[in-house]
C-alpha cells in the first residue's frame, strides 16, 4: 500500500487542511451527477473528492436531444448544462444535503452566462463554505452558447471571470481550462495570476458526427464535446504544457480508463486526476483506478504518489 495522500495546497496560498485528499482520484464534473446516483455502487468516501455537475444561479433545461453520440473510443455530448440551479442545489434532498452526509470532500463545478452569474453562484456557495473543499470554475463548456467556452478561449475574459469569483469567495478555486486553444500555457498562467488555487484540464473538444443514413447530425446541437480514450494523448500533452507553465496543482483528465492511464497524467505533471467517460463504461472505474495507481506505485517501488508527479524523464 503506497501512500496516496494528495496535497493540493501551494506555498503561496494559505494552507488549507481540506485540500489534503486521501487519494488523487475524483470524478470529472458532469459524469457523476450529484453523487447520489452512484452511491449504490460504492461508498463515496472512497473517492479523493466528489465533483458535481455544473451549477448556475438558475435552473436550466439544457440542450435538445439527442444529446450524446458514441464515436470510436469516445463519445460526443452536448448536454448543455441541464441543472437545478443554486437554490435547489443548496437545499434539495438529493443534492448538497445528501453529499454533506457522505464524509467525502465536495467540489462544486459552477458556470454562468455572464460574469455576474459566476459571481452569484460563488457568493451563494459561501453559505456552505465549511462544507465545500473547492469550487471548480467551468469556463470551458463547448456546449452552451453564452458563457462556457467563450470565457475559456479569451485570456482577458478568463482573467475577469476568475478574479471576480476570487474576490467573491474564500473557498479554494479550481479553474477548468478549455483544450480548444492553440496554446494552453497562457491560460494556465492567467488562472494562476487571477488567483485560482488549482487548474483542471481538459474539458471536452468540440466534435461532430453525422448519421449517414438520415444525413442528420447525431447531436441535436450540431456539435458536441469529444471525451474518452480518443482524447487522452491531447490531454496528457496539455497537462504537461500547463505543468511547465504554472506552480499551482493540476487536476488532469481526458480519457482516463485505468490506473495506468492515470499514471501517465501524474508523470506529465498532474497532482490529481478526474475520471469522466470511464464512469459510463464502468461505475466502478474510479475505485479500480485508485487500486491501479496503488498497484503501480507498489510494483515500481514508489512509496508516495507525490514521488512521480511531473517525473517524466527525457
Amino acid at each position: 500500500m503506497a501512500n496516496l495522500t494528495t496535497n493540493l495546497n501551494t506555498e503561496n496560498h494559505p494552507f488549507n487542511e481540506k485540500l489534503i485528499l486521501k487519494n488523487p482520484v475524483m470524478p470529472a464534473s458532469g459524469t457523476f451527477g450529484y453523487g447520489v446516483e452512484y452511491a449504490e455502487y460504492f461508498k463515496l468516501e472512497k473517492l479523493g473528492a466528489v465533483v458535481v455537475k455544473g451549477i448556475a444561479p438558475f435552473a436550466s433545461h439544457g440542450n435538445p436531444t439527442p444529446r450524446v453520440a458514441e464515436v470510436t473510443s469516445g463519445m460526443l455530448n452536448a448536454i448543455g448544462l441541464q441543472g437545478p440551479g443554486i437554490d435547489k442545489f443548496l437545499k434539495g434532498e438529493e443534492y448538497l444535503p445528501f453529499l454533506k452526509q457522505q464524509n467525502c470532500p465536495i467540489i462544486v463545478n459552477i458556470w454562468g452566462k455572464t460574469v455576474e452569474d459566476y459571481v452569484e453562484v460563488a457568493e451563494r456557495l459561501n453559505e456552505e463554505a465549511d462544507a465545500l473543499t473547492a469550487i471548480e470554475i467551468n469556463i470551458s463548456c463547448p456546449n452552451v452558447k453564452e458563457g462556457g467556452v467563450a470565457f475559456g478561449t479569451d485570456e482577458k475574459l478568463a482573467y475577469t471571470v476568475i478574479s471576480k469569483v476570487r474576490a467573491a469567495t474564500n473557498i479554494p478555486l479550481i479553474t477548468k481550462l478549455s483544450p480548444n486553444v492553440t496554446k494552453i500555457a497562457p491560460f494556465a498562467q492567467v488562472a494562476e495570476d487571477a488567483g485560482s488555487n488549482m487548474i483542471s484540464l481538459i474539458n471536452t473538444i468540440p466534435g461532430m458526427a453525422i448519421d449517414i443514413k438520415t444525413r442528420k447530425p447525431k447531436i441535436a446541437n450540431l456539435t458536441g464535446g469529444l471525451s474518452g480514450p480518443a482524447i487522452k494523448p491531447i490531454a496528457v500533452r496539455m497537462v504537461n504544457e500547463a505543468y511547465n507553465a504554472v506552480k499551482i496543482p493540476i487536476i488532469g483528465m481526458g480519457g482516463i480508463m485505468t490506473g495506468d492511464d492515470a499514471i501517465e497524467f501524474f508523470l506529465a505533471g498532474a497532482s490529481a486526476i478526474g475520471v469522466g467517460t470511464a464512469i459510463f463504461a464502468d461505475p466502478m472505474a474510479p475505485i479500480n483506478i485508485i487500486d491501479g495507481i496503488d498497484k503501480f506505485l507498489d510494483s515500481e517501488g514508489f512509496g508516495n504518489i507525490s514521488d512521480i508527479i511531473g517525473q517524466m524523464g527525457k
Binding site: Y41, K53, M75, F280, P283
Partner: protein
C-alpha cells in the same frame, strides 16, 4: 437496489429474423428485477466502443437466469450476437422504475411494438388477471414473443403495417375494439415501443379518458441519472410548462398524463 455484476452467457441464439435472445447467469440482478426495468450491458470484447447498451429485462427465473431479447441494429448488437456460451458481460441492473402491476380488479391491456414486447412480457406473465396484448410491427418479422404471450393466458391481437400478419394498419387501431368489448370494466394500460407509437397511444388513451404507463426509452449513456443524456419532456409547474426528465432514473415508465406532447 441495483448492482454491477459479471453475467456469464448461458446461451445466445437467433430467435427470428434479426431478433436474438440471450440468457445470462446473473443472480444478483434477477433477484431484484421487476417487469419494466432494464439492464445496462457492457458488450464483451467490443473494445473501440466504450459505452453500455440498455436492454429491457424480458424474463428472469429463480435460478438466476436473466433473459433479454434484442434486435441487431448496429455495431454493438451485432457484436453481441456473436458472443458465445461462457463469454462474460458486465451488467448493471435492475435499473429504472417498474410498471405498477394491475390491481385485483383491473384488466391489463398492453400495447407493444417491435422490441417493446420484451419489456412487457414479465408484466403479463406475472399478472393474476388475464388481459390483452396488442402487438404491432412493420411486418410479420417484427412481431416477437407471440407464442409466449399466448401462454400467459392473455388475448393476443396483432397488427402489421403491411398486413403480413393480423390487422393491416397501426396497432393503435386495435384499441377501440378492446374498449368496446370491456365497457364498464376497469382497464389498466401499458405501452412500450417506438417513440412515435407511444406518443400516439398516450394521446389517444388520454382522449378516451384513460391514463397509461408508457415505457419511454431513449438513447442512454450512464443509465443511472447522472449524465442527463436520456431526457424527455414531461409536464412541469414552471414558466415553460415542461422540464426534461431522465428516462433512465425517473423513467423509463412515465404516465401518459405526465408526458409533455409539445
Amino acid at each position: 437496489m441495483s448492482v454491477r455484476q459479471n453475467g456469464e452467457i448461458i446461451n445466445n441464439n437467433l430467435l427470428y429474423n434479426d431478433y436474438y435472445k440471450v440468457d445470462f447467469y446473473a443472480p444478483e440482478i434477477t433477484k431484484n428485477a421487476k417487469a419494466g426495468q432494464f439492464i445496462h450491458l457492457k458488450i464483451a470484447k467490443l473494445e473501440d466502443r466504450i459505452l453500455r447498451r440498455p436492454f429491457s429485462i424480458c424474463n428472469v427465473s429463480n435460478d438466476g437466469t436473466l433473459t433479454i431479447l434484442y434486435k441487431v441494429v448496429g455495431k454493438g448488437t451485432e457484436h453481441l450476437s456473436k458472443l458465445k456460451k461462457c463469454d462474460v458481460c458486465d451488467i448493471m441492473g435492475p435499473l429504472g422504475n417498474p410498471y405498477s402491476p394491475p390491481l385485483d380488479d383491473e384488466i391489463p391491456v398492453v400495447i407493444a411494438g417491435g422490441y417493446g414486447a420484451a419489456s412487457t412480457y414479465l408484466l403479463l406473465h406475472n399478472s393474476q388477471q388475464k388481459g390483452y396484448l396488442l402487438l404491432g410491427g412493420r411486418s410479420k418479422d417484427d412481431l416477437i414473443l407471440v407464442d409466449e404471450y399466448k401462454k400467459t393466458g392473455s388475448t393476443v391481437l396483432t397488427s402489421t403495417n403491411d398486413g403480413s400478419y393480423g390487422h393491416k394498419g397501426l396497432v393503435t387501431e386495435l384499441i377501440p375494439d378492446v374498449l368496446a368489448k370491456n365497457k364498464g370494466k376497469k382497464l389498466r394500460f401499458y405501452a412500450c415501443g417506438p417513440m412515435g407509437m407511444l406518443m400516439a397511444v398516450g394521446q389517444q388513451l388520454l382522449k378516451e379518458g384513460f391514463d397509461a404507463e408508457l415505457s419511454l426509452d431513449h438513447l442512454m449513456c450512464c443509465g443511472v441519472g447522472a449524465c442527463f443524456a436520456c431526457v424527455i419532456k414531461v409536464k412541469a409547474n414552471n414558466e415553460d410548462g415542461w422540464r426534461y426528465a431522465r428516462t433512465c432514473s425517473e423513467g423509463p415508465i412515465f404516465k401518459a398524463s405526465e408526458v409533455y406532447y409539445g
